[in-house]
Symmetry: C2
Subunit: 349 residues, 2 copies
């Protein structure tokens, strides 16, 4: 039984023409008569011909495959992003190779090498380190990639890389402003990994909010996390152990915010009565009534689409070699800050 998939040459043999003629028929190239084309396409259909992307890729150096590098797909923020990226990529004719790094630059590097070896046309990098030698190298090689929800301030050259992001600083500002306006002054911050641009910018925004409202910003109220759920727990514990603990928490993403709420429960703290919590990202679970997390929303769908489209454009040589697309975040008020409870009211500004 012949299980081998048919090749151009197989079709050529059947049609009694040269493989080049078949190629012309299949790829809508000129210099072939209507009749032969039709005949060949008929045979190809019958045999269910599918081009061999490997062989093609070897020559045209394109594989219709993109890489997606994320930290961990377990974080719902990334799985939601991955979903729209896969979908838009597919609609544009591309497949997606998924690579998780666990925030490890060495694994990232490994992924990059493998992806290049497999001839991917471009890579989407999502949030991680600000300073990343891997990216600098890629940039030097003029390998196409875009940064999604991730900045690269560390490296001058990289400012020219296409970046799709939200205004994290504004997001941080909005989050803390909300807490201040409902009456909090001691606000703890659960940071993300400190090498991440996202962390830096959101904290920067938080500081601006403090300043704007004439409040003192206490550095000791920042505790280091890593964007994963457990670090929210640890972070809260640390903060509550201090001599004058915060009355509100700004967790730099929802995943950690949920950890905060978990630990609050363990510590016997009620949310929002004893502790207000605000997150960032508006993952699907944040909206559930029994989570009901006040958070900062961002247009994940639009951002994922945008990043994918930009990358595909680069790959296909359709302009847009650089530029920053910045989206605007918005505050989504739910119950975790008690905004809707009596006893709290919004300060006039």
């Amino acid at each position: 039984m012949e299980n081998k998939r048919p090749t151009i040459k197989d079709i050529a043999k059947i049609a009694g023409v040269s493989h080049t003629t078949v190629y012309r028929a299949l790829n809508n190239k000129p210099r072939i008569s209507k009749e032969t084309r039709k005949r060949i396409l008929g045979i190809a259909n019958r045999l269910k011909y599918q081009p061999n992307v490997l062989a093609r890729g070897l020559i045209i150096k394109k594989t219709k495959t993109l890489g997606l590098i994320i930290t961990t797909i377990r974080n719902p923020f990334y799985s939601e992003l991955a979903q729209v990226i896969e979908e838009t990529a597919r609609n544009l004719g591309y497949s997606l190779i998924l690579g998780c790094t666990n925030y490890d630059l060495n694994i990232e590097r490994e992924h990059i090498n493998i992806l290049k070896g497999k001839g991917v046309d471009g890579i989407i990098f999502t949030s991680a380190h600000v300073k990343d030698p891997n990216l600098e190298e890629l940039k030097k090689e003029e390998f196409p990639f875009v940064l999604l929800n991730r900045r690269c301030t560390g490296c001058s050259e990289l400012s020219k890389i296409p970046q799709v992001l939200i205004d994290n600083e504004m997001g941080g500002f909005l989050a803390v402003e909300h807490l201040i306006r409902i009456g909090h002054t001691r606000i703890g911050i659960i940071a993300g990994s400190e090498e991440s641009s996202v962390t830096l910018e959101r904290i920067e925004g938080a500081k601006k909010a403090f300043k704007h409202y004439g409040l003192f910003f206490d550095d000791s109220l920042i505790t280091k996390g890593n964007f994963l759920m457990p670090s929210g727990k640890i972070g809260l514990k640390d903060l509550m152990d201090s001599s004058s603990p915060p009355t509100a928490i700004f967790a730099l993403n929802d995943y950690m915010a949920i950890g905060v709420m978990e630990e609050a429960h363990n510590l016997g703290l009620r949310v929002p009565e004893d502790l207000a919590v605000v997150g960032f990202n508006n993952i699907e679970f944040a909206s559930f009534y029994n989570v009901s997390l006040t958070t900062i929303g961002q247009k994940k769908k639009e951002m994922g689409e945008e990043a994918t489209k930009i990358l595909v454009n680069m790959v296909e040589g359709k302009t847009e070699k650089s530029g920053i697309k910045k989206f605007t975040p918005n505050l989504i008020i739910r119950n975790s800050c008690g905004y809707s409870l009596k006893g709290y009211k919004l300060k006039k500004i």
Copy 2:
């Protein structure tokens, strides 16, 4: 500036040997002297040589790439699975192309064709349709694939396909048994998509529990869902609209169970006081105190690993061409059924 990645021939030129010699050096083949090998490896390292997987794949028909077909990565159950699959695949030297189908057999088919065109070595299919012509065809072509958390009872041939699953029937039994033992007799079921083997088996288990405890099983208490969160909402609404609504719900996965809890809240029903809810899968969020969903746990990590390893073994020709690996589910009791509340107590059996 030469940005092109170095090839075997480039190295050969520098080393002053033939490309075959370089090949032998790089791939630990015999028939080469220790010194030349060392010299060549030195050059290769210096040039940061990375083999071109496309060219290699063209000949050896292996690409060190696997396909992972899932319905949607947004469902945390699948993102948790994807995480471990990516990780084990990477550790075994494989990359993963991710394909989401949205439960659409045509999209699945499209994915399969593309994956084959890209020369993936094998594919992991996760839960979807029982009867799937795509799989029958793959089987006929002897293309390597494994079924993860998915059965293919529809097609006789496919019983020989490696399958990694949990005992869904037992899981369904455990879930309903629990509800019965804490006193419920009218138990609504939110089914998954009806073409799914998972749905059928879990319902089968539920029915057995009814029978085992001498209870009448009311078919009208099954409502059709699709494993997505919103269908949990709709399902509950439908069930509660009936003339004699259930006092407990068995949602066939956690994602829908959360939808059920959402809708219960909207309908003014307290969980677990007015409505007990049990799910299936034990996704991470189920464990959070403010969700606290009683559910059926399965060894996702082990199953993902197992499926990946089996597939890699098949691909690499290391036996294990068929066989079913069945894992045992376990009941995880949290608060959504009120087991821990006074007023409820466990019936003796």
